[in-house]
Amino acid sequence: MATSSAISTTASAAPQPSVQSGLWSWLTTVDHKRIGLLYLYTALFYLLVGGLEALLIRTQLARPNLSVVSAEMYNQLFTMHGTTMVFLVVMPLSAAFFNYLIPLQIGARDVAFPRLNAFSYWVYALGGLFITLPIFFGLAPNGGWFGYAPLSGPTYGGGYNMDFWVLGLQILGISSLAAAFNFITTIINMRAPGMTLMRMPMFTWMSFVVQFLIVLAFPVITAALFFLQFDRFFGTNFYQVQAGGDPLLWQHLFWVFGHPEVYILVLPAFGLVSEVLPTHSRKPLFGYNVMAFSGMMIGFLGFGVWAHHMFAVGMGPVADSIFAVTTMLIGIPTGVKIFNWIATMYGGSLRFPTSMKFAIGLIAMFTIGGISGVMHSSPPSDLQQTDTYFIVAHFHYVLYGGAIMGIFAGIYHYFPKITGRLMNERLGSWHFWLNFIGLNLTFFPMHFSGMLGMPRRIYTYDAGQGWDLFNMISTVGTYLLLVAGLIFAYNFFSSRKRGAVAGNDPWGGATLEWSIPSPPPEYNFAQIPEVTSRYPMWDLKAPDRTASLEHVHPSADDIAAAHAVPVHEETERRSAKELGIAIPFSTIRPFMVALGIIIMFSGLIVLHVGEFPLAMAAMLGGSAFMVGSLYAWLTSPLE
């Protein structure tokens, strides 16, 4: 087949150091892989931050009536734990994979808008600092990650705490939206010839769905936050109850965003697992079409279930019934995914590297979160569960047992592609098992404490309520998770330099990213490959596996259009210049625009402090800096 030669399968002898290094190169990079790495490292750092917050929370709750931290500090900790894990850890970890993998999986040389991509990262990185640093001054947000009005408003949430939250979330939303448009454009326009939508790797599929969820859900939270921001800074009355404002407006808007957000967090992990399971089962994904459509179905139904977070509000029997039924329905496509994953493994030839353990761990643990999720769908019963630790147990099985397990599977699976070296399997095994046991020790007892009457978000509880044992076990589990995390960190950093050399395709992967050297050259593909089926690498290496699939060959015109670059037989480590591939110039401007935005938003905080001239200077100066940098960005050539 003519297309075979396009896919290089030569293993590189040893990974070579990146040509670019130094702080400046990282600040100015527009390479999707380096930006992916920036996302990865930043999000892993915040995982540590959010984990330490959880550790303090659990230490405070280990026994009744403890005072390890004050009530006020506890409230800041649980608010920041939620905010951090959702916006600064799981979403950016997913973004790390979007960045790194989507262009590689679809056979592209970069994302559609490389500089916008850098901008997204810098807004995230600086916005993360904006919302995280205040905790060192006791000024961290303290109104919960859900920020219910009127507690988050100026009357009951005075001070600067919730200012940082409102503005921080606005900033982070800019990042998510810019990235989402970028990836949608990338996936629609930049797929290699022959890669129809229904041939995209499942991770790309799930990412595609997630970008639409972000584009549709984030404007809602942005509007909700603008109302709150205006209430807090400019004296409007959207949620001000004394002036007749409606706190339920916030709840509806927040959850119209908040529920799709759950799928924004978990679908990328589903995608990663859908890459790992077939590879290590030596079988194609079972029911590819159904997997893709169930992902879309979950995303679609995800917008129609928001009010199940609000059954205690008293919406009336009709609304309660409708949201009960839609919530139940969403269990169906989710269940289909679970069964299809198991069917993928069934009859396979299973190998259990750490990535596979985490992938299977996701199936096992997410199932628990899924079942308890269906339990919340029944309002009469949910009224006993909502706002108790039962809910805390549920969503940690979804987000830790689902999203985090899937992301760990992805990290172990793609580490060799990213660094050219394998992670240590023995340490990986320790990490997995301690994580697995710690996860269950921490979160399973919360089912019991919740159904036995323990409310959420309480910084202390009285003795003799029947909750002591469960809380103690949860706390012990959290410390185990810390140990697991430290083992992972050691493994991650030591394997970068000392891990076994991986080669291009250590796992026998099916998709395009395994055809190129590890780590990939900055241009990714010396020649844009042609895709003949869902599993181009297996077409090449194990054609028997894909023989039963329909193969559609692109037309000669398509190929001609895609092949601006002549075929180079030995493309290993040739520079882009040698190959005649245009690479976008690195530029500091996206960073500067992001910085301008942060300065502009900081002006509002200064305004609240009461320094009017300084505030105006920051806001106007920040805006001018942003607009100026943006102008410079737009007028400088891309490549």
Binding site: P64, P150, L285, V290, L350, I458
Partner: protein, 434 residues
């Protein structure tokens, strides 16, 4: 390697979970949601049982399939290459249809129960107004003109129709043993109703705020006393009056309630039905007997390190305490009645304006500060001396001379604060308010 791991670890994990489940089912759990004290609970437990059954079946099927697959199909050296299957429409339709079918068995009773629970309350129900404050509970019985705080009395066998309001942020009303929760939403009146079953034994139960409401959300608890109808009537008869043991009662007799003129007219209709004629005989004080309170309803919150000369407590003089509270000359030092109401005394705020709990019958209560402390002399004295030290964020100011007042960020000056003897007198007065 990993399957042997799994074989070793899996039984231990399963055993641990089973033990935990047994612990959860066997022990003494005073706030369990699995009681059958109301029909709300019956519905919730019925649905729970069904979901638990269906959920367990799904869980076992998934996990058994998963573990079986992991063991059966693990890679063996020289084993045959796996058959390449890309899907199976019949199978996939089956495992789409079966969960859908399962959900029908959940959806039908769910919708049925929703509509049953949310019917209108029977007209003859006892009306109770629940008002949330940061961070305490106000309970009003508008039919009887009773306003009380943090301790809710309910007659067994009678339907109670709660109307829920908040004076500030959102709260949520929950007595796990009596049914699901309902939020208190600003600018709205919310409703929930249930009937403590006639078969229920009189007892004390715990309740809590379950919507995050700020600093002391964890400290916004309350007690519910489910009592016999006869006991409830006794309690009502007494609560309607002014306090029996108070000097106010001995000086002006029980009909002072009639003469009471609130400074500002009441805004809500709830308080208008005060007694219109003097009761013929002062009813006997009755509240739920302390000796019948189960241990889990007795708070064990540790007291703060605030210093207090406890020997003064026994010698506290209720008359002197009353003088401190009611003489306008002392308003600067002891402005209690600007935020609290004691019916029969000259109040500076009515119940709709009061920032703190109504104290008319505080001497009959078992707990205070939203169920955070037992109502004993020492705890009460420490509270008056420095309330924010006992309940983070409390709007009750620091009154003890020399105590650090977080609100004004300095110690209370000796001249402006109360000394320990004065506090002991006030405590004696409050405790006399039976």
């Amino acid at each position: 390697m990993s399957t042997s791991h799994l074989r070793r670890v899996a039984p231990v994990a399963v055993l641990a979970l089973v033990l935990l489940a047994l612990a959860a089912c066997g022990g003494d759990y005073p706030n369990s949601t699995f009681s059958h004290n109301t029909t709300l609970n019956d519905g919730a437990v019925f649905l729970w049982d069904r979901m638990m059954l269906l959920g367990t079946i799904v869980f076992v099927v998934v996990e058994v399939l998963l573990v079986y697959t992991m063991i059966k199909f693990r890679r063996r050296e020289g084993g045959p290459a796996p058959r390449q299957t890309h899907g199976n429409a019949a199978l996939e339709i089956t495992w789409t249809a079966i969960p859908a079918l399962i959900l029908v068995f959940l959806a039908v009773p769910t919708v049925k129960t929703i509509f049953e629970n949310q019917r209108k309350a029977p007209a003859e129900s006892l009306q109770v107004e629940v008002i949330g404050h940061q961070w305490w509970w106000e309970f009003r019985y508008p039919e009887y003109g009773i306003v009380t705080a943090n301790e809710l009395y309910l007659p067994i066998g009678k339907t109670v129709d709660f109307s829920l309001q908040t004076r500030d942020v959102l709260h949520s009303f929950w007595v796990p043993q009596l049914g699901g929760k309902r939020d208190l939403i600003a600018n709205r009146v919310n409703h929930i109703w249930f009937t403590p079953k006639a078969t229920m034994q009189p007892t004390a139960l715990n309740g809590a705020c379950v919507e995050y409401c700020g600093s002391s959300h964890a400290n916004m608890r309350f007690r519910t006393f489910a009592v016999t109808p006869a006991e409830f009537d006794k309690w009502v008869a007494h609560q309607k009056t002014v306090a029996l043991g108070s000097p106010a009662a001995s000086v002006t007799t029980a009909d002072s309630a009639v003469k009471e003129k609130p400074i500002v007219p009441l805004k809500t209709a709830s308080l208008i039905s005060l007694p219109t004629s003097a009761p013929t005989a002062a009813p006997e004080a009755w509240s739920f007997p302390a000796e019948r309170m189960p241990a889990y309803t007795l708070p064990s919150t540790p007291l703060p390190a605030t210093k207090f000369d406890e020997t003064l407590l026994a010698a506290g003089d209720p008359k002197a305490g009353r003088e401190l509270l009611t003489n306008p000359a002392n308003l600067g030092k002891a402005p209690c009645l600007t935020c609290h109401v004691i019916r029969g005394e000259t109040n500076y705020a009515n119940d709709d304006q009061a920032k703190g709990p109504n104290l008319t019958h505080i001497g009959t209560r078992h707990t205070f500060a939203a169920g955070l402390y037992r109502l004993d002399a020492k705890a009460l004295a420490l509270w008056i001396k420095n309330a924010p030290a006992m309940k983070p964020g409390s709007v009750m100011p620091t009154f003890g001379a020399g105590e650090y007042n977080a609100m004004i960020k300095q110690a209370v000056p000796a001249a402006a604060g109360l000394d320990d003897r004065q506090i002991a007198d006030i405590v004696a007065y409050l405790r006399s308010l039976k």
